[in-house]
Subunit: 423 residues, 2 copies
Amino acid sequence: MKNLLINDYNTGLDYDGIDGGRLAERLEAISKIGVLPTGGVSRPGFSQEEKLAKELVIGWMKEAGLTVETDAAGNVFGRLNGDDNSQSIASGSHVDTVPAGGNFDGVLGVLAALEVAEAWKVSGYTPKKSYEVVIFSDEEGARFSSGVFGSRSYMGFVDDELIASLKDNEGLNLEEVLEQYGSSLKEYKNIQQRDWTFFAEAHIEQGKLLEKNNLPVGIVNGIAGQAWLEVEFKGQAGHAGNTPMNDRQDALVAAGRFVSELENIPKIVSSTAVATVGKLAVSPNGANVIPESVKMIVDIRDIHEDTRDRLLELVTERAESIAKERNIGVTVSGTSRVKPVPVEEVYKQELHNILNDLNIEATELPSGAGHDSMNIGLELPVAMIFARSKDGISHNPKEWTSLNDCVMTVHVLKKFIEIQMNK
Amino acid sequence: MKNLLINDYNTGLDYDGIDGGRLAERLEAISKIGVLPTGGVSRPGFSQEEKLAKELVIGWMKEAGLTVETDAAGNVFGRLNGDDNSQSIASGSHVDTVPAGGNFDGVLGVLAALEVAEAWKVSGYTPKKSYEVVIFSDEEGARFSSGVFGSRSYMGFVDDELIASLKDNEGLNLEEVLEQYGSSLKEYKNIQQRDWTFFAEAHIEQGKLLEKNNLPVGIVNGIAGQAWLEVEFKGQAGHAGNTPMNDRQDALVAAGRFVSELENIPKIVSSTAVATVGKLAVSPNGANVIPESVKMIVDIRDIHEDTRDRLLELVTERAESIAKERNIGVTVSGTSRVKPVPVEEVYKQELHNILNDLNIEATELPSGAGHDSMNIGLELPVAMIFARSKDGISHNPKEWTSLNDCVMTVHVLKKFIEIQMNK
């Protein structure tokens, strides 16, 4: 992978202490941990592979002069003391992957944060506040089918009820997994937040917007809060041959109209809102039986809670009005609702200025996917920077971000953190 | 069941030799063969239960003075010789059922045809032409998952290729099933059509139209020919959070629009045409993944081949135009196409006159489901009469037609057959 990264690298990006070759070597080194013969890498949360990747980064942290601590959830904190060591700015991401995942999701954010410290070391810069490079455990949630688990644990959002419900694929509970990992449930329950006042995360986009606009880096204007509605239309089954068209209560015709109208609703509330039906089941699902019921999940997201919740209302109303017009039943129930985390105006403006200075068109885009920043952002200000993803592909061995784009992301992250240091 | 039938019976309907009590007793007797402890009856084609039901009817046929023959497919023919024994008029249906089926589907048509002969016996009427009461085997196709099997066999429509493909649930082929039943494949391949010039079938509606119009009996204007189109919309999968609404190729949005517009297409070609999507599958069907493909079966029927085929074209065009507008792919392929059997004007007019004389509003309705008449109708003129179905329910233990409606159906069938006898 290193050669692939280096081949088209523009060494003109090596300035201010940032070194593309070093970043390429580190991306390469981590890409070899958990590599699968069938392609891709697998480093599930709390696995030996995730631990090896963390240990590799810990070594680099120490070489860069950082003091490393871990908490009982396996989260890693590499601290560079600033002139004022009473508070700190943090940046990082994760090194675990989905099964057969790629080499940039998470890893770029960790290495970019570390590269900022490396650059400072080269240039002899000591930040005013302290700086922490962070590796969160188990962001993908592959271990317990429970996403952003390390950052949730760090923030103290994993309560006893959730702990009791956790089981991994082998039937191990959290206590057993932690003990295998070299920690304990007692320590886990005693995890303390650190002295951060701000958290920044660099991440690959996992979408195509930057690529379509030919931009290496973009400003995340918020992390969308996902909410799921379960919508079920209930009509009446009937013989597909013996029931005249004007005497039907066809649940799928209602559902079809709902799904086809759904795409026009998000823009009513905001330009960042999205609504998707990805999962749908017809019952009884016989080719010659008029569908009695159609059940689906509507995935609804926006970066602002008010618009997201307004969208939930509008979607519910639309389902109900279609059902009423067609004289069939409908039930709409919310099955999950995550709080969106918008990025404050001041951080977006700072990033605009940085990108303008770098002659990059400043473009804002929402993060539709969840990230560790989402948990931190529930209590602290956060910001995110996205690096362009080739073809928008992620969670896949084909996931790719060019070294030029990775390094540009580091430059933006470094300048942005320096602004926070000087506040 | 007999008491339930008799309870609300209007004995004023017992005239012209037709006897509601006899019909109720016979419906009752057959309903006890293959009765399930969980409700309903099960008399699959070529089963012992179907055979017992046939033998019961054969006994009644003989008592009524009919000469009984069977063919190698197990079809039963009870013949009453007429003044001219060189040709015959036939009527009947079937006594097999779907698993856990009801007591009227098929059985009513057989007993109604027999009751016509009984009535003639009482009144001393000898028809001009000969008359055959028919029981077709395995109409429901439960044995080989291949419907209207007995009448297809009778007509010679089961070719060697189809024979080679037939396997029942226990893995038996047609030869083995026939031998178990007391027949042979050699005799089966030598089945000859009889001297019929016309076939009439009484059947329960299996729909709600007569009930909604408060009518005991209706005139079938044709047996719809079913055609299936497999339609697959192919878009592009994507992250439900990271793909803006205006950059999607969502196969389900296209499919939803198609399904919701489908209901308006049949009326363009005729008042009897129907189109239904009963079976639909989304892929990959993950709640947070934009659907990549949606595959469905469109069931399309009409009683005229030209309008049915025009409907197939219109539906195909609509699928293609929606895909084109939405910039996604679509494939449409025909997977089966059965010829519709319209009923000739002269028979419908005769039935109109009969119903008018009985002070019943003459209403025509299509048969959306297939029936044995469909096979006979490919070579001979046929007609069908529907009896009102309670709540339109069929293929279900709750299937019900009142004795009044059953007897009224016999009156109509008798008068109608007498008209054919005198032509």
